[in-house]
């Protein structure tokens, strides 16, 4: 195989959920959210940098094709290359963003091993995102003995060298038991849910704020409105509103509750069976901009007021035959420390003054 590309940087995301010593996708994660977390890490800090194309390897839910461009906020072409170690090599081979000056492409590989009969993962889950440029003479990494998609992707990630790759997340695992993970796998998605009804077009309309934390800054009074809705919440001004992304890793908890078993809204009945009593926090994302988020990836549901949180894209609840996705709060500094201590330089998780 001849490949003329340069492997720029890589980001790897390993879920924190652990079953019998193996890191597996958490109860609110799937291939789409695993990939989203790796992708956000690769392209952090959130700016205007976006790839010319996105090459996918893995078994993604249908949302991926439309979902990743929404997450990136741009109409990025998405090319699916199937699943398996060979598909990883094929995706890299096809990824050279030839023609576009200085353009880069991203290969996003998610290995979420097939679920066994009981709905539980048969092996470790991992998401790897690698940014590549055409102006190089790199080749594929040594063939090795990569029998899994994830292992092959990690070998490609290790070959990325400009600058040093962001290493594997070293966050402490959060153990989960089989019944809860099984409950997560068993949440019915096809049924029309008995939930507060948010029609699909309204949900899609909210995605810039829901997934990318887009707020609007008022040119008249300076107030921030989140979620963005085309009018200033303070003075009502509708002209000259500037889109402004709120930091995904810079929030402070200002209120915190735990929803007891059986007290959840009906659309969370399935997710709650997997999550157990879950936390919900009101988070100050930036001065004057607050958001409400379900808590995930925390040792316990209750996050103290004043603690710092980041947000990650996760499954929220099923409605009308599909999962609805949105950001959830995760306690910091776990991820932040992983990104920084790795010597990732400017490519680590961004820091935001609190």
């Amino acid at each position: 195989m001849t490949v003329t590309l340069r492997l720029l940087r890589a980001a790897t995301y390993v879920p924190r959920t652990e079953l019998d010593g193996v890191r597996v996708a958490g109860p609110d994660e799937d291939a789409f959210t695993l990939g989203a977390t790796a992708l956000e890490r690769l392209l952090a800090p959130p700016g205007d940098r976006a790839p010319a194309a996105l090459h996918l390897v893995g078994a993604f839910p249908p949302i991926a094709g439309a979902g990743y461009p929404l997450l990136l906020g741009r109409p990025v072409p998405v090319v699916a290359h199937g699943d398996g170690p060979e598909a990883v090599d094929a995706a890299f081979a096809a990824s050279s963003p030839a023609g576009a000056d200085g353009a880069t492409a991203v290969v996003l590989v998610v290995d979420e091993p097939d679920r066994a009969d009981d709905g539980l993962a048969a092996g470790p889950a991992v998401a790897v995102a690698v940014e590549v440029a055409a102006d190089g003479a790199g080749g594929p990494p040594p063939a090795g003995d990569d029998r899994s998609t994830g292992a092959r992707a990690r070998r490609w990630a290790a070959a990325a060298s400009d600058p040093a790759p962001v290493p594997v997340e070293d966050a402490r695992p959060i153990p989960i038991d089989r019944p809860r993970l099984r409950a997560a796998a068993a949440v019915p998605v096809g049924a029309v849910s008995e939930g507060a009804y948010v029609p699909r077009p309204r949900y899609l309309e909210s995605v810039p704020s829901r997934w990318r934390l887009v707020a609007e800054r008022c040119s008249a009074c300076g107030a921030l409105t989140f979620p963005a809705r085309g009018a200033c919440r303070w003075c009502g001004n509708r002209d000259g509103l500037g889109a402004e992304r709120l930091p995904a890793d810079g929030g402070t908890v200002v209120a915190s509750t735990v929803i007891g078993a059986g007290s959840q809204p009906t659309e969370f009945d399935g997710p709650a069976r997997a999550l157990g009593p879950y936390g919900v926090v009101l988070v100050e994302l930036a001065p004057g901009a607050r958001g409400t988020f379900l808590v995930t990836d925390a040792p316990g549901p209750k996050l103290p007021i004043g603690s710092r949180v980041g947000t990650r894209l996760r499954r929220l609840y099923p409605m009308e035959g599909e999962w609805r996705y949105g950001r959830k709060a995760v306690p910091l500094p776990v991820d932040e420390a992983a990104g920084r201590s790795a010597g990732a330089g400017s490519h680590g998780a961004p820091s935001h003054p609190s």
């Binding site: 948010v198 409105t225 509750t257």
Partner: protein, 387 residues
């Protein structure tokens, strides 16, 4: 001061899990309101109606105003249905009083009803929370208890001593409910019952939450100058305040207090011929115990951060300096959503006419009723005085 509205009759059903459906509940409340008019009233003289209901559960979700005309026995009556979540009753009362004040109407029927306990439990949990911000807050897994849990967590973080005040609010509500034959809960509870109850939405437990109740209430409004045709002791409406706030608490600058409550109180007192110091008692919207503490401060009945101290000192007891919810409040009397605001006016009618029996506030002359929709997105504050 222009034309003022008075209450000349009021009726109330038992609140709780009852067999009657919404039509029968409305009929009973209106019949009792008509029967309560001291010198009698002909139904045919009612010239407008307002119905407060959320349509909980989805039964007859639209156009239910016609049902009030049927059940009031006034065929063809002009009726508007008012839906402002749990504040529907307060807003319907406001609309009725305005119709009188404007000179357009001479006898107005305001009724509120909700039938909640016959709804299948999954559907009930679906409906509990549809009046919050469904696109964001609900998508974060919040019901109303969850939203109030967030509010309580922030308040307790700033005022740790308020944890015991929440217990005191629940104990007081149950003690007062025990004196109200219409109340959903008519038994006292021990503080330890409250403290040990399972958590619904931390820090709120089961006894911090109002129950799911059926019920209806109705009042008859007439202008002050003709009130004597109906009774020697009308109850005058001296102030009508109402306001809104952002639907989602995440968009509010005032937190955890409710700006809508504060604004409604300011509006109500602005034109009233008396002020807070002259209040005999208050009906506050205590859907959760924390809501009573927030309301005391939002309405200016307690200084900022002083609601817990006031409560723990016993000032809000029936015989205290500023009694709150002598009928048991939403917490013990029950909270049939659309009926609640009208039920508050019914209690004021009884209290200011010294007809509240075992729960009478001694010497009650002036009262305030505070009705909140959702978690403070809509609010009314209404002021009453003995006519």
């Amino acid at each position: 001061m222009g034309r003022r509205a008075t209450i000349v009759g009021a009726g109330h059903t038992r609140f709780g899990a009852v067999e009657d459906g919404p039509r029968a509940l409305l009929r009973t409340a209106v019949d009792r309101a008509v029967a309560s008019v001291d010198r009698g009233v002909g139904r045919g003289t009612i010239d407008e109606g307002f119905l407060a209901t959320l349509g909980f559960g989805g039964g007859q979700i639209g156009n239910s105003a016609a049902v009030l005309a049927d059940e009031a026995g006034v065929p063809g009556l002009a009726v508007s249905r008012v839906e402002n979540a749990c504040a529907s009753g307060g807003f319907a009362l406001r609309a009725g009083a305005r119709a009188i004040e404007s000179g357009a109407r001479e006898l107005v029927l305001v009724a509120g009803v909700e039938k909640m306990t016959d709804v299948a439990s999954a559907r009930r949990r679906y409906w509990l929370g549809v009046s919050g911000d469904t696109e964001w807050e609900r998508a974060a897994g919040l019901t109303f208890a969850g939203v109030y849990g967030l509010l309580a967590s922030a308040y307790l973080n700033a005022h740790p001593e308020a944890a015991e005040a929440l217990v005191a609010v629940a104990v007081k509500a149950h003690a007062m409910g025990a004196r109200n034959p219409n109340a959903h809960f008519q038994r006292a509870v021990d503080p330890d019952d409250v403290r040990r109850a399972p958590r619904v939405a931390d820090p709120l437990g089961l006894y911090d939450c109002c129950p799911v109740s059926d019920g209806a209430a109705a009042v008859l409004l007439a202008p002050e100058e003709t009130a004597h045709r109906y009774t020697d002791t009308p109850v005058r409406i001296d102030g009508l305040g109402a306001a809104t706030d952002h639907l989602a608490i995440q968009e509010r600058d005032e937190f955890p207090g409710f700006a809508a409550s504060r604004r409604a109180a300011e509006a109500a007192f602005r034109h009233a011929p008396w002020d807070r110091a002259q209040l005999s008692f208050a009906e506050l919207h205590d859907c959760f115990t924390i809501a009573e503490l927030l309301a005391l401060e939002d309405l200016g009945l307690a200084g900022p951060g002083a609601a817990a101290q006031l409560t723990l000192a016993g000032a809000t007891e029936r015989t205290g300096a500023i009694p709150v919810n002598p009928d048991g409040g939403l917490k013990a009397k029950g909270h049939p959503l659309g009926a609640t605001g009208v039920s508050q006016a019914h209690e004021v009618f009884l209290q200011l006419r010294a007809a509240a029996g075992a729960r009478q506030v001694p010497g009650a002359e002036r009262a305030l009723a505070h009705n909140v929709g959702g978690a403070g997105a809509t609010a009314t504050v209404t002021l009453f005085a003995r006519g």
